[in-house]
Symmetry: C2
Subunit: 350 residues, 2 copies
């Protein structure tokens, strides 16, 4: 039935036989990290034999003996969120260059699936994990600080800081957004964001509040609403509620670009124009938000670099570097586009 050809390729014994040496010698000759362990003439004979046979070492056998799998797991909340694509690309490219393979797991934003994904990746003996799904408290993730493969978080961190985190400097970006809006003349801001159990949420919300308070003069007020997720639908719900409850608000700082998209929907539904009636700032500068109408003003994060740095930190740990649980912060930048403008002359009313 099942074609059982299996066509096993050549093994190290075949190589050794062809080169006229013992398998162990062949193994050492092929191991680049043992220079000089095998005499050069012998080594090149072995290499030639390996090449002639098209020898490729069996990863299972190697892994069984060395206890290393050459695999890293990448856990992400939702691949269709465009902000993740460049991050994953950066991770994948960096890890591949270092000889690691990337096992992908999409959790669909479900903590239960996150936990099972981590278990599964661990069962597959991944040497490291890059996790972009962490909630502020998460038993499944926190355990990795003590037991299991080396782990690095991206974007979303733990409250305990028990694991290294590579994230963007949201606070700075959000503060720039608030100052930008204040300078345009807005006095009533809203911050619509995601669930409280994500570190990004609280970081950004705190930054909005504090940067508003720090304005000179401090005459800008902020209302903050939390949704249950970072999706367009969440943004729509939040904005709908906000616009009817707080007609004085003339500018919205969205927790991310997806929420901002939802805000645009809600504004359109309420007959409000952006930016003439309400200004809007997103977060992440995910691909294509510069092509919306209006083009979204947003806080740009170094997406690809986040992925690259996260992978680098992980590689450092795997190489046995200090086990510091560093929290790496990469710079952000406010990108002003068409969705922000001065408030309407007469602050709009209900």
């Amino acid at each position: 039935m099942a074609k059982n050809a299996a066509a096993r390729g050549p093994t190290i014994r075949d190589v050794a036989a062809l080169a006229g040496v013992h398998p162990s010698t062949a193994s050492r000759a092929l191991d680049a990290s043992l220079p000089g362990r095998v005499a050069e003439p012998t080594a090149s004979r072995v290499r030639a034999a390996a090449h002639a046979l098209g020898y490729v070492p069996d990863p299972a056998a190697r892994s069984l003996r060395t206890r290393r799998s050459g695999l890293v797991g990448v856990v992400i909340p939702d691949l269709t969120n465009p902000v993740l694509a460049p991050i994953v690309q950066g991770v994948e490219e960096t890890l591949r260059a270092a000889g690691f393979g990337c096992l992908l797991a999409d959790t669909d934003n479900d903590p239960a699936r996150e936990a099972s994904a981590i278990d599964e990746l661990e069962a597959r003996r991944c040497e490291g994990l890059v996790i972009a799904t962490a909630r502020r408290r998460s038993a499944a993730v926190e355990r990795l600080a003590k037991r299991g493969p080396a782990a690095v978080l991206v974007t979303r961190g733990l409250d305990t800081g028990a694991l290294p985190l590579v994230a963007a400097d949201d606070a700075q970006g959000v503060a720039a957004a608030v100052r930008h809006l204040a300078a345009l003349g807005h006095r009533h801001l809203a911050h619509l964001t995601g669930p409280r159990d994500l570190s990004t949420t609280v970081r950004r919300a705190r930054a909005v509040r504090e940067s508003a308070k720090a304005l000179e003069p401090p005459d800008v007020d902020v209302v903050v609403h939390h949704g249950s997720g970072f999706t367009i639908a969440d943004g729509r719900r939040l904005a709908r509620a906000l616009l009817s409850a707080h007609p004085e608000v003339t500018a919205i700082v969205a927790g991310n670009d997806m929420i901002a998209l939802g805000c645009l929907d809600a504004m359109a539904g309420a007959g409000l124009r952006c930016p003439e009636d309400v200004s809007l700032v997103g977060h992440n500068d995910m691909p294509f938000v510069d092509r919306l109408e209006p083009a979204l003003t947003t806080v740009a994060i170094p997406q690809r670099a986040l992925g690259v740095r996260a992978a680098e930190v992980l590689l450092g740990r795997l190489a046995g570097e200090a086990v510091a649980t560093e929290q790496l912060v990469l710079p952000t930048q406010l990108v002003v586009r068409g969705s922000t403008a001065p408030p309407p002359p007469a602050a709009r009313r209900s």
Copy 2:
């Protein structure tokens, strides 16, 4: 230096010892595909022992013995192309449900990287490959029809048809687009698309030509230009050249949505409005093109379903099903939005 804890988990011998049986018996007791091979009381003792110890079989050891890795490679051209995200999601979810892990490889649209990615995935003993990067002729991919892991292509097929392909019915979608434009009154169409060495390109180009010819009356002419890729920049270049060389064209059928985005740029640069001056149809209905200004009329393909079906076909092959090299075609649908409209009253001139 490197913390060498390695903290090996319990092995099947530990489980066997705790249950008071031989390791082989423990192995069989834990193998769900051997019902009845071990007496129930014994089996449940083994299961209890395994559970108590938190036993997880070592994939390397198992793989070494069984010659199966439980891994599938997924080769994609560019993760930041939003059309791929749902496809990869579908693949990943389906494979995971079947117990396979997904090794991701992004080739950045580079055939050389595709070849090395395939080699690498093969070296890792992937049991199957899902390939979304295939060119019409590709030694690296064609070889898989004879040797190497089972492979399934998505979206992009081989001329030889030597490997199964899961693709959308582009021809039907494109034909609908052409009829839609003709019905709006357009008589001069252009098709701007990607390189000729991709099957999607030729499928779509042929469909544009043939469906125009099949119109009644056949009074619509079509000019077809090929670019070097399926990117926004390619679309921009193509559209720029087209608009100056063919001022009579009032509607563009783009090879995909990325090219369509480039067309929008070029139109804006040339002072042309869409759809008032030039209508535009994209292809793929990738996420967010419904939110552009104008919202893009495009041919929707069942993105997620493509991924799911591709994974299913692969699973079928892995299960030893008939080795038919079926070419699976999933339905498409023209989604009419704001980027198509009747041509300007006086066909525009140079």
